[in-house]
């Protein structure tokens, strides 16, 4: 019986650890976003709170925490309270199956990939519930747009990973990473981004749409809808919507790295050089995490970079891109991957 308690305690510690890292990542991302945005727009960004404004997110968090929690009069109280939680929790759930290192994950389930797809499709409930419960026409429009957008982009998102499945032969995230070991010609890593380049591009575009980031942030389009689904929210409830967006962005980066960029496997060329001079214990236990986090950081920067570079799509452009471009391309990708894989196996 004691073993069960120890087992549960270890799982609990892992969960607390991952959540702490994820929320810490949100704080860092918030600072990075404002700093990068500033420099892209020829400004300095936050500068006064701490060196180069690095403590700004903490000051902002404190401000949001201390603000009065206002619930407008005509809202649907129950759903209004529930919506930020429904937006935030699914975003965190994704981290349960993401392997940070060879054995460093909360749960190594053999259906990890489908689990991620299904959990990420739940975040939308928070957005549409918040949009409806706010009893505000802008919020409702934001919520409806979000529902249509997420349904449309979930299909290319799901179809784009089928190519990866064909190559790895498993839904388990660990096995997908293991299948990417090795090199072509000694220096090109066997990451799935090379045989599955089309799949990667499709997944990337669909992931931007699923996380509601520019150029797909129609649910909150400031110029048309004020702030969309969270227009009636303030203080910590608003902060939860904001954190949900950042957590979803981090988990999307983690999934991209795991599926297409070899997860915790070392970088080509630099990897062997660095691991050559370090003691073997460090290489075995610490370096996988370093490689994983450095790859994730690249994608998180990419998310910010794209946001401040591209304008927002129009609603009809968004729909025709999803259904008329991404979906046929995803099916084409499955077809081509199937043929290539058959040729490779025979």
């Amino acid at each position: 019986m004691e073993n069960v308690w120890i087992y549960l305690l270890i799982i609990l510690l892992k969960i607390v650890g991952i959540i702490t890292v994820a929320l810490g990542g949100v704080t860092v991302m918030n600072w990075v976003e404002r700093k990068v945005c500033g420099h892209i727009q020829h400004r300095h960004g936050p500068l006064y709170v701490g060196p180069h404004g690095i403590l700004q997110p903490i000051a902002d968090g404190l401000k949001l925490f201390l603000k009065e929690d206002i619930t407008p009069t005509n809202v649907d109280r129950g759903l209004f309270m529930l919506a930020p939680i429904m937006a935030f929790v699914p975003a965190l759930l994704t981290f349960a199956v993401i392997p940070v290192g060879p054995h460093l994950m909360i749960s190594n389930v053999n259906i990890g990939l489908v689990y991620i797809l299904s959990v990420s499709s739940l975040g939308i409930f928070g957005i549409i519930m918040g949009g409806w419960a706010s009893n505000n026409k802008y919020a409702l429009l934001g919520g409806l747009r979000s529902a249509a957008q997420m349904i449309s982009y979930e299909i290319p998102l799901g179809l784009s990973v089928i190519g990866v499945l064909m190559y790895s032969g498993s839904l388990s995230m660990t096995k997908i990473v293991m299948a990417q070991q090795g090199f072509w010609f000694g220096f090109i890593p066997k990451w799935f981004v090379i045989p599955q380049f089309l799949g990667f591009i499709l997944f990337l575009v669909a992931a931007f749409a699923e996380t509601n980031r520019l150029p797909f942030d129609l649910p909150e389009a400031e110029t048309e809808l004020v702030a969309g689904y969270f227009v009636e929210y303030g203080s910590l409830r608003w902060a939860m919507f904001m954190m949900a967006e950042y957590v979803a962005m981090i988990s999307a980066s983690c999934v991209i790295v795991t599926l297409f960029f070899g997860g915790w496997l070392p970088l080509p060329v630099i990897g062997p050089l660095v691991e050559g001079i370090l003691p073997s214990n460090v290489v075995l236990y610490a370096m996988p995490v370093v490689w994983f986090l450095s790859k994730v950081a690249v994608f998180m920067f990419f998310f910010v970079w794209v946001r401040w570079t591209f304008p927002r799509l129009r609603y009809d452009q968004l729909m025709s891109l999803g259904w008329k471009v991404l979906l046929p391309l995803a099916i084409f990708n499955i077809f081509i991957s199937g043929i290539l894989r058959m040729a490779q196996l025979n």
Binding site: I111, S121, L122, F125, L144, A148, M150
Partner: protein
């Protein structure tokens, strides 16, 4: 009563309670919202039966995709109109009788019926990975019904397109 049984009764009771709430709420938005935990707990029962793949699909399709579409439609209702409507009318008695007969039939079937079926071996085949077992069954033994189901879905999709198409436009 082991942990397994406790979990089963927890899932089952939540399914029954949320399903009852879903059909009894006059506000359609709440009815749909109560269905979400209902589907989640159905997924929980699949996990207890060691059918993880079905559990995740249960969350992905009914809870993730269908409920969003339902909410999408329900949001566009005019709620002040619905508030004035009665939830019972003349046919309620007849409907109640039909429902009762249906319930008795199902209860008899559940208690006395034998479920031979190939499903038992799917659940018990722990030697093979769950996903592999489901895929294998769908593409070998049940290939014909599987393809037939996709054909039916295709027909339904075309039907919806024909109904939604406006004359003269495009």
């Amino acid at each position: 009563m082991g942990l397994h049984d406790i979990m089963f009764y927890y899932f089952a009771s939540v399914i029954v309670i949320t399903a009852l709430l879903a059909v009894s709420r006059p506000n359609p938005v709440y009815a749909v919202v109560f269905l979400i935990p209902c589907f989640f707990h159905v997924a929980g029962i699949f996990v207890l039966l060691q059918a993880e793949f079905l559990a995740v699909v249960q969350i992905l399709v009914p809870a993730g995709a269908l409920m969003v579409l339902y909410l999408f439609v329900v949001f566009l209702f005019n709620l002040s109109e619905i508030k004035g409507m009665k939830s019972t009318h003349r046919q309620s008695v007849l409907a109640g009788i039909v429902a009762l007969i249906m319930f008795i039939l199902l209860a008899v079937l559940a208690v006395r019926g034998i479920f031979p079926g190939p499903f038992q071996e799917l659940v018990e085949s722990t030697a093979v990975e769950n996903t592999v077992a489901v895929g294998g069954a769908l593409y070998t033994r049940f290939l014909f019904p599987f393809e037939l189901a996709s054909l039916v879905l295709l027909v339904v999709m075309f039907g919806a397109m024909v109904l939604a198409r406006r004359e003269g436009k495009e």
